[in-house]
Every structure is written in structure tokens, then in C-alpha cells.
């Protein structure tokens, strides 16, 4: 046990935030340990972004930052790395996670990994009515990413085998994320609103994209062959209504639209994530985002048009594009935290040596999203 530098309360060695005052501890040692442990042997590019959790204790003018988040001398807003951070783990894989314009803090989180054989993107959206959801969401996103990043490469690279492998890995990843979300809830003690979070994870591996989720953060696929799909189906009131025949625009405009029916956290309904897959041989763009973006542009075709406009203007750097989409969401009002993760998936995936692509065009099994029966109490 050590002490929180802000309030002096005891904190555990690997705590990222102080339980007592909420100060970010930015525990570099714990992060480094996590990196060493998780580093896969065949990592082609760096997979570990800077930990986005160290708080700026001083303003650029040298003044102290008040608990209200503003400098006590010059009045500038404190820059919190948790409020806005970017990650780029490969030239074609990047994400932006931003507080938005309205919410007081950023409860979204994202974690990425990229290696020769796979791209992993995880996005979590902490539930804003809960306490310390920003802690839970980041812990959950990283835990899920770590599981997916470390999952052993499959022996068979048929599409069917890949989908089976990743569906199973996604269940483990969500279980790990759930464990971390519960642990962070336990860390903040018994409260009325234990932290909770959504999670969506997507793996692009050779010919398939496999996604799993709980809640309403989304995965979209924009294939170079023209495929334009919302891969995930929200676990939400709105999507239940849409499934029952209500028009999307009507359902999503309802005040209850965002009531999610599944989430991670202490009081989460049990069960594996819903998983599905799509073929991606043609290459294209994988977009994973929180509702801070899709609130303003829900339909896959519209979102694709938005992305393609940006590509036409500023090129195909995924970090610049993610920033552009994030800025766009903020320009629409930024009413929620905004996370945009993008990967440009090449048409001919690079395969590990000795593993040749299967001849022929085997159809890819697509697991249909299963309706969720677990309703919140």
C-alpha cells in the first residue's frame, strides 16, 4: 500500500485512481508491468500507447489546478489526459477518445492492438449515471484488449476456424473486462451507483471481421466492395423497438432510446457477449465508436458518406480521420463523450509465414445476433 499524492489516502500499488478523492494516480510501474506481460512475441508494431491516466497537477502558467478543474492563478482549464487522448498502434489503426462538449469528464475509453495477423479495437462507454465509470471503462477496455491481443494464433486459418476462435476469445475478453469493471466497483466501495460500462470489441483477422458487444457502442464495416454495415446491434431499448418494427428514426428519437439492456459492471446481467462476423476480403474501413458519434449519424450509409468526405479532403490517415469525426461530433453539440476508432484493413491481409490463404471461396459463417433475454432488474 502507498499513499495518494493528492489526499494522502492509502491506495493499492496498481490503482489507477485514488478511491478516496478520485485523483488519477497514473501508476507507471503497474502500466509497465502490464506491457511486459502482454507483449506478444510476434508483435510487428508497438501495441502499447501512452497510459492516458496521468493527471496534470500544474497549469502551464505554474499555478495549481483547483478541484473544479481550472487553474487557480490564470483560470485556464486543466488539461487532463483522460479527457482527450489519442492512440495509434499502427499506421492504419488509430483512435480518438474525447470528453465532448457537455459532460464534465470523459467516461469513454478505447484500447487498441495491431500485429501482423490481427487488428484489435475495443471501445467502452462508461454509464454516466454511475460513479467512477471513467475508471471502470478504461480498465474494462484494456482488459478485453489484452485478452484478444494475447490469444494464440490459430492453426487453421479458414474463415470458419477464425470465427470460432474469435467468438470464443471475445467471450473470454468480455469476461475479463467484466472482472475488471467489478473490481473497480469494489475499489470505490459500496455506492448507490456502481460503475458500469458498455463494451464493443472488433477483431479484423485475415478474411473475417468478428465483433462482440454488450450495450450500445458500435462496430461498422465499410468494405471497398461496397459493403456498408452496422455490424453490432445495440443492446438497447431503441434496438428492441426497431426489431419489433418501429422505424429507426422514431425509436432513436425516443427519450428511452439509450436505455441499455446489457452492460458491464457489478450489477450487469450475466451472459456472453453477442457476437457476429462479416467477410472482409475486399479490404475497407473498420469503424468502432461510442454513441457520442453515432448519435449524430446513426445509419451506416450516412456514416460511410461522412468518412468518405473526410478521406477526400484530408487523406486516409486513421488518426486524422478519427480526429475529424470526433471534431464533427463536437460541432454537432458534443452532448456525450465521443470515441472514434478506425482501422484501414488492407485487401490482401498479410499472413504469418507458412500460413497460406485457403484456396477457393469458402463462405463465411455469420453468427446472427441473438436477442438478449437478460433484462435489467
Amino acid at each position: 500500500m502507498t499513499e495518494c499524492p493528492a489526499c494522502g489516502a492509502p491506495v493499492a500499488a496498481d490503482d489507477q485512481f485514488c478511491e478516496t478523492c478520485g485523483a488519477t494516480l497514473g501508476n507507471a510501474a503497474a502500466e509497465a508491468h502490464l506491457v511486459a506481460e502482454s507483449e506478444p512475441p510476434d508483435t510487428a508494431v508497438s501495441t502499447q500507447p501512452l497510459p492516458p491516466v496521468s493527471a496534470a497537477q500544474r497549469c502551464s502558467c505554474g499555478g495549481e489546478i483547483d478541484a473544479d478543474g481550472w487553474c487557480t492563478v490564470c483560470g485556464l482549464r486543466a488539461v487532463s489526459e483522460r479527457d482527450h487522448y489519442t492512440e495509434q498502434v499502427a499506421p492504419n489503426v488509430a483512435a480518438v477518445c474525447d470528453k465532448g462538449r457537455v459532460h464534465p469528464r470523459n467516461e469513454d475509453a478505447t484500447a487498441l492492438a495491431a500485429s501482423r495477423d490481427r487488428i484489435v479495437i475495443v471501445v467502452c462507454d462508461g454509464v454516466s449515471t454511475s460513479t467512477d465509470s471513467d475508471v471502470a471503462s478504461l480498465a474494462a477496455a484494456r482488459a478485453a484488449r489484452d485478452v484478444l491481443e494475447r490469444a494464440p494464433a490459430p492453426e487453421s486459418r479458414t474463415a470458419r476456424a477464425l470465427v470460432e476462435l474469435w467468438t470464443e476469445a471475445l467471450a473470454r475478453a468480455v469476461a475479463a473486462a467484466q472482472e475488471r469493471a467489478v473490481a473497480s466497483a469494489a475499489a470505490v466501495g459500496a455506492r448507490e451507483n456502481p460503475p458500469s460500462s458498455t463494451l464493443v470489441a472488433a477483431i479484423a483477422d485475415g478474411p473475417v471481421l468478428v465483433a462482440g458487444w454488450v450495450g450500445d457502442s458500435r462496430c461498422y464495416w465499410f468494405g471497398d466492395d461496397g459493403a456498408t454495415v452496422q455490424v453490432s446491434v445495440d443492446d438497447s431499448w431503441a434496438s428492441t423497438q426497431i426489431a419489433q418494427g418501429t422505424a429507426r428514426t422514431v425509436a432513436e428519437a425516443d427519450p428511452r432510446a439509450h436505455a441499455i439492456t446489457r452492460w458491464l459492471g457489478m450489477d450487469a446481467p450475466p451472459g456472453d457477449p453477442t457476437c457476429t462476423s462479416v467477410p472482409i476480403e475486399s479490404g475497407g474501413w473498420l469503424l468502432v465508436c461510442s454513441d457520442g458519434l453515432w448519435n449524430y449519424c446513426s445509419a451506416a450509409t450516412e456514416l460511410r458518406a461522412l468518412l468518405e468526405d473526410d478521406i477526400a479532403r484530408i487523406g486516409d490517415d486513421p488518426l486524422m480521420l478519427a480526429s475529424e469525426l470526433c471534431d464533427w461530433a463536437n460541432a454537432q453539440g458534443g452532448h456525450d463523450n465521443v470515441t472514434v476508432a478506425l482501422a484501414h484493413v488492407p485487401a490482401s491481409p498479410t499472413l504469418p509465414p507458412g500460413s497460406e490463404p485457403e484456396a477457393g471461396t469458402e463462405s463465411i459463417p455469420t453468427t446472427e445476433p441473438v436477442p438478449v433475454s437478460d433484462q435489467p432488474a
Binding site: 483547483d66 481550472w70 487553474c71 483560470g75
Partner: protein, 421 residues
């Protein structure tokens, strides 16, 4: 424990190169409780017994009843006394120079004592305040409050004596002042009540006095938060243009600032009951780049040493004119109400000095502002002094044969504001 909330009303968006930020900060206290709960409370009732109080005789009769009505409202355990004032101060109750604790017996004794208030002599308000301060000093109390009634000008002592009385009371007790009849000076009483964090009003008819005294004492007994301060932080390099209470009445607080540190000032606000007060804070800051954000003021309500509530006043520079041209209704409303108060006072002063031209312009502007801001009380009182030809353009005619009481009523109510519609 009282619950405090603060709300900030402003347009935080400034156009390029703009420097002035205006915000209305509303502070609301709920669950204040009862006076004396955090320490002792003390009350002194000061009744003018100068000779003029017998002209007409019902003035002194009403004053006796009013004092008794106020005494009846004093809650058990509160330290209190009653002073009669003429050329000097006389203790009416108790019979020695001390405060006694309220209870059924002492309230009954005091009510009996005030029935013997008899007029005679002059008016020396400063000496009354000095005596009240001396009485208050005899007990340890968290909150001290006085009610002062007079019917005349402070003519039996020097202005210096009056100032000495005000200075003795400042930061020691709060004082609500009431003038009865038309022979007292509105500005004189306003100066006292303002310095002593109290209210001022006219009691036009003596028979209304008892009800007013009862209400004043009841309000004072409901102020369970003994003392609170408004603490204002502004950033380095900025200039605090003014801090003004704008609701429920207008009081410029700028002169009361106590510089706590380079960037922090505190303003005494006295005791609080269950109520809301609005403050207008104006700060000048060096302009920043478009898109830049800055905290312009932290406005805090401080009870003891604890910050009970905080409102943040912000600025964001923007080139979006749909944002920067928005006028915040609260800021606009209270800016208008503050101007209303000053044009009424200036207009009445000009009228008294025989400068009808200035009076017509000022009171015309007042009629316009009162209509714009929906201040019906001001409009009604203005109508007794001027004929409003066109409120939209502020066109008025001065009335002939205006009663002095109507002018005084307009003057005392000039600082009362209405809430934003």
C-alpha cells in the same frame, strides 16, 4: 445544516477581442433553520420617541404596538433589549444595561415596558446605534440584528456622531430601518441600512407598523445561517469591474470588498434564511485567441471557513456570431433593474432640486425600464409621481401636487428588483 445551491447565468461566448464578462450568480439557501442555532442570537429594537412621534398621537401608539408585535416573535433563548431614542438613547427593557434572554416572562415584561414609551426631545440616530452596539457587546453572539424606527431627520447630533454610530455597528450587527411619516430622509436611512446589511422601507400609515415589525422579526428569527461571505476569485491579469447584489434588492458590494489574497476578495453578506440572492459579477480579462476558454471568476458562498457553494463564470472566445450575440436574459434584466434604481433616485433628486427637465428625462427612462423589465411595483409607484404618456419611448410628464409620501415610497422601493420573467 443548510443546503446551498449556486447557479450561473451568462453568455460565456465572447467575440474576438472582447474583454468584459458579465454573469448573474444566484445563491439559494434552503433549510437555514432558526436564528441562534449555531451560537447565540441577539436582537435590539430601537424606537424613535422624539417629540414628533406624538404628532399625530397614533404614531407613538402604533410604535408601542409594533414593538410589542416584534417582541412576541423573538424565539426563546435569544438575547434582546429595547431602546427608546431621542437626543440620546434610553434603555426601555431591561432596566439595566444588558441583554436578557427571551422567554415567556421576559417577553411579557418587555411588552409591558414598551407601553410606557413616551415622546419628547429630538432625533440623534447615531447615539442610538452606538448604544445598541454597546448592548450587543455585552453578550457573546453569533448573529446580531436590530430594528430601527424613526420619523425624522438626524438633526439633534452632528453628521460625525451619526457616522460614529454606523461605524460602531458595522460588522457587528445588521439593522433593518423603517421610516414612518414623511419627515425622515430616505438617503439617510438607506445609508444606515446599507452599511449595516439591512433593508430600508417606508411605513406610510402608522397602523401598518405592527405587521411590518412582526414580519421583520420573524424573518430575522428565520435566518439560521448566522454569517456568510461571498468570496470572489478572479484570474491574474484581470480586473474585477464590480460585484453587485441585484436581487432581491440592489446593493453595490464593491466598496465592502476585503482583499483576502492577490486574486481573492470577500464581501460580507450577513445572515441567511431560506432565500435566494442574485449577484451581478463583472470582470475584465485580456482577450484570448478564438476557441480559447477561460475561467473568469469563481464565486463562492463561504460559511465559517467552509465553501458552501460555488459558481464558475467562464469565457469562450468564438467567431460564431449566433453564439456571441446572444444576450443572457438574467444579465440584461438585472442590468436594466440597476439602471432603473439609479434613474429613479437621480430623477427624484433632480425634481427636489427644481431641475424639472432632468427629472422628466430620468423618470421617463425609469418608466421605460420598469415596463421593459416587468417591474410593476416600480411602474405603479412611478405613476403617482409622473404621468406616463408612452412607456415604450419613456415619455412622461411630471405631476403637480405630488404627495411627499408617494415620492418617498418610490425612492425607497427603487432598489427592490423583480426576478427575471
Amino acid at each position: 445544516m443548510a443546503d446551498w445551491t449556486t447557479e450561473v447565468f451568462e453568455n460565456e461566448y465572447l467575440p474576438a477581442d472582447a474583454t468584459d464578462v458579465h454573469a448573474i450568480v444566484t445563491v439559494t439557501c434552503q433549510g437555514a433553520g432558526t436564528a441562534g442555532q449555531s451560537g447565540a442570537a441577539a436582537e435590539v429594537i430601537i424606537v424613535d420617541t422624539s417629540g414628533s412621534m406624538s404628532m399625530p398621537h397614533d404614531k407613538i401608539v402604533s410604535a408601542r404596538q409594533a414593538a410589542a408585535a416584534a417582541i412576541e416573535e423573538i424565539v426563546d433563548g435569544t438575547w434582546f433589549a429595547v431602546i427608546a431614542g431621542d437626543n440620546t438613547a434610553h434603555l426601555v427593557y431591561p432596566d439595566r444595561r444588558a441583554l436578557v434572554q427571551a422567554g415567556a416572562d421576559t417577553r411579557a415584561e418587555a411588552k409591558l415596558a414598551v407601553q410606557h414609551l413616551d415622546p419628547g426631545g429630538g432625533t440623534a440616530i447615531g447615539s442610538w446605534l452606538t448604544e445598541a452596539a454597546a448592548l450587543f457587546a455585552t453578550v457573546e453572539a453569533d448573529q446580531r440584528h436590530a430594528i430601527l424606527l424613526t420619523d425624522g431627520r438626524d438633526e439633534s447630533e452632528t453628521p460625525r456622531d451619526l457616522q460614529a454610530g454606523i461605524d460602531a455597528g458595522r460588522d457587528m450587527f445588521q439593522c433593518d430601518c423603517r421610516g414612518v411619516g414623511e419627515d425622515w430622509e430616505v438617503n439617510e436611512l438607506r445609508g444606515i441600512s446599507s452599511a449595516l446589511l439591512g433593508s430600508v422601507d417606508i411605513i406610510a400609515q402608522p397602523e401598518a407598523m405592527a405587521e411590518d415589525f412582526q414580519a421583520m422579526m420573524r424573518a430575522s428569527m428565520g435566518r439560521g445561517v448566522a454569517d456568510a461571505k461571498l468570496r470572489v476569485w478572479t484570474p491574474q491579469g484581470s480586473e474585477l469591474l464590480f460585484v453587485r447584489q441585484v436581487g432581491p434588492t440592489i446593493e453595490d458590494l464593491s466598496d465592502r470588498a476585503v482583499q483576502v489574497s492577490e486574486l481573492v476578495r470577500e464581501y460580507p453578506t450577513g445572515s441567511w434564511g431560506d432565500e435566494s440572492r442574485d449577484y451581478h459579477v463583472a470582470v475584465k480579462v485580456p482577450p484570448k485567441a478564438l476557441g480559447a476558454e477561460q475561467l473568469v471568476a469563481r464565486v463562492q458562498l463561504v460559511v465559517g471557513d467552509a465553501v458552501a457553494g460555488q459558481g464558475l463564470v467562464r469565457a469562450t472566445w468564438s467567431d460564431d456570431s449566433t453564439l456571441t450575440t446572444r444576450i443572457n436574459p438574467a444579465v440584461a434584466h438585472y442590468t436594466g433593474q440597476a439602471e432603473l434604481a439609479s434613474v429613479i433616485q437621480e430623477g427624484l433628486a433632480a425634481k427636489a432640486a427644481g431641475d424639472d427637465a432632468t427629472a422628466t428625462i430620468k423618470l421617463g427612462r425609469a418608466a421605460q425600464l420598469a415596463a421593459e423589465t416587468g417591474n410593476e411595483e416600480a411602474t405603479n409607484k412611478l405613476r403617482r409621481v409622473v404621468e406616463i404618456t408612452d412607456a415604450d419611448t419613456g415619455t412622461v410628464k411630471l405631476k403637480r401636487d405630488v404627495s411627499k409620501l408617494d415620492e418617498m415610497a418610490l425612492d425607497t422601493s427603487s432598489t427592490k428588483t423583480t426576478r427575471v420573467r
